[in-house]
Symmetry: C2
Subunit: 161 residues, 2 copies
């Protein structure tokens, strides 16, 4: 039996968001860093769906709701903070950001990106990272960080066809 990931099937998404925000609060408190209103709002926007969101999309929303138009550094600084604290991930191949599923512990996810619905499913498969580390070690390369981004069709979109 296949366990479809949350990101690729209907669910009460508001719970994803509120849980992510609550976790973020507690993580920041524990780390002694400040989850300011702006940072929290950016995190919330990134979590609005499971689709990676561009910095300028966030910027557009902030500008609209603030009246005064926000400038790029505002968003990038908030995103940098969220990245540093493991609350969001950056998807290099999309120039976009997505909420982290498991912010409790430091990690780098692997991402399955649906070419149809654009949802990004985060994996954390030791088998994948180990295969990478092993292949690297075989040529004397020591690994610091991995980017694994996979494009294809998620379970939901395969059914839909």
């Amino acid at each position: 039996m296949i366990l479809t990931p949350l990101a690729s099937r209907p669910h009460d998404h508001s719970r994803c968001v509120s849980q992510a925000l609550a976790e973020a609060e507690s993580i920041c408190a524990r780390q002694g860093v400040r989850l300011t209103a702006l940072r929290k709002r950016v995190l919330e926007l990134v979590w609005q769906s499971h689709k990676p969101l561009g910095a300028y999309d966030i910027l557009a929303v902030l500008s609209e709701e603030d009246g005064r138009r926000a400038a790029p550094p505002t968003v990038y600084r908030a995103l940098d903070f969220l990245l540093e604290n493991g609350l969001v991930h950056r998807i290099a191949s999309l120039n976009a950001f997505v909420g982290c599923n498991r912010p409790e512990h430091a990690h780098q996810g692997q991402f399955l990106i649906c070419r149809q619905c654009h949802a990004a499913i985060e994996l954390e498969q030791a088998a994948i990272s180990q295969a990478i580390v092993a292949a690297a070690a075989a040529v004397g390369f020591s690994v610091d960080s991995q980017t694994v981004e996979v494009v294809g069709l998620c379970a939901g979109c395969q059914e839909a066809k």
Copy 2:
């Protein structure tokens, strides 16, 4: 014994280049597509080292040698052609391009990028792609394409420390 990849140790690089160009000629001939002077020159520039090269770096060289300054589409079109025909790869995390080691057959490489010397070592490890496909399949996701880009220290730069 560790077999250090070519990219991360000294070698007669002019042979890399001439071989890559010769292979490109024969592949394009076989495919019935045109490796024009411009495309060939761009391929040569991408091969100038094992370091991924940005489109605008290529542009700068072309501009200088042509006198008239080249415009972005000139370079991007050549790169698109080279990508389509498997002669170069794009490194998403760097917004840069690198020559393909094995253009004879279609594939997507995995890349080890040295944070010190910036060389990109191309791997083609079935174990890695299989681990990815398997993990994806386990959640019902069918894979079209994979991006695997790893940052760390190559063998040469580890010694150098």
